[in-house]
Point group: C2
Chain length 264, copies 2
Amino acid sequence: MSALSSVNKSVNARVAIRSGEFSGHTSGLAEGHVQGNVVILPSALAHDFLCYCQRNPKPCPLLAVSEPGESLLPSLGADIDIRTDLPRYRVWRDGVLTDQPTDIRQLWRDDLVTFVIGCSFSFEEALLQAGIPLRHIAQNRNVAMYRSNIATTPAGVFSGPMVVSMRPLSASDAIRAIQITTRFPNVHGAPVHIGDPTQIGITDLSAPDYGDAVEVMPGEVPVFWACGVTPQAAIAQARPEFCITHAPGAMLITDLLNHELATF
Amino acid sequence: MSALSSVNKSVNARVAIRSGEFSGHTSGLAEGHVQGNVVILPSALAHDFLCYCQRNPKPCPLLAVSEPGESLLPSLGADIDIRTDLPRYRVWRDGVLTDQPTDIRQLWRDDLVTFVIGCSFSFEEALLQAGIPLRHIAQNRNVAMYRSNIATTPAGVFSGPMVVSMRPLSASDAIRAIQITTRFPNVHGAPVHIGDPTQIGITDLSAPDYGDAVEVMPGEVPVFWACGVTPQAAIAQARPEFCITHAPGAMLITDLLNHELATF
């Protein structure tokens, strides 16, 4: 596939999203392209949140930060307008979810700063391409996520536990998955834990805090990655007066290719 | 340390070995330098053995192969003479250990081919430098090695099980150790297994087939690497009419630096 037709795929997806034609989950859309978690905060909180991401790069790998009031994100795609280009948004006031619109033009303020954070879709594509089966994808479920007892490094009002996603793998696939995801530090990188869940404060794998449970079969080892839900949990705890995020699964589709994120 | 003084360290070690002054284990000698397992076979078997190494690169990562009858190994060190530069040799006739000399000049034949195979000392140095504790080194023991049920790919008369070495590590150190040893494919590379030993046919970790047992503490995971004893086991099984190897622990010290072996 040419680079041009590849970019067309992400542009076309955004056109459908922008027009309101598409407001669902982006998993599987514009295959090969980087998708991002989105957090939009008033500039008064932007510095603290930026520090929080900088201090917690595994759960909060920053792909882009906008200027205050600037709705374009040219480093991620020439035509991206963050006010229209997510399929669905969540609007939070004092930490309470108040609305889930498909467009935030009416809510835009000139003090808003957009943060785009890498997401595991990118490394999952690399794992699948390497022939490593991922059960939650095979079973068409959301990945299982847990609040661990690993504390993130606080910054200003932002703090909280690291949320981790879990994928059960055979031992040999786990080794390969560590190698592959190490290449992708901008989308959570290498796992933070393998094996015994109780070592990171998870007592029951069948009861995830977010997403859907998947079975760990005999001979498999649970492998835990830092998860992009971590910043959302930190924001929920901080209860900012105003905040907009993507709705779960409705990510920003960028023109970046997953392969571009590989460090070697 | 300058490159010159570094090479002097390996040259000085070989001078002491060559003179007969030193005939012990080489662990810790000429720190920073690559050490190698040595196999010397008649040229009639050399092609099969070379194929065996090529087909089983994790247990048999080849650092050098000599011309038949050639005792020098210039790619590993300008002055290396394989007839004098090992602290102690083992001489095998029809698969039976017949002698353990400190010099093989009297046994040299013009059809002998030398194979030098990477050894875990190199990656252990990288692990220790990364702050990952290795219990067998802390306890001054040989690493624990086991015959696994992983079959090597046969070549001619050479076949047999993969021998693996085991190091108990915390989960986070295991993840880091996989990353680090991935960088060193010429010295066994990434692990072949983590976790449940029975999955690779090992029923009792406290009873290694070679080396010394080390305890796996609560919260640790056993991590298994392909081991350079594998080719020795294949040779023992093949029972060649004539063969010379290094004596256990008495390796060839080369001028190569461990850091030179890193692939990225």
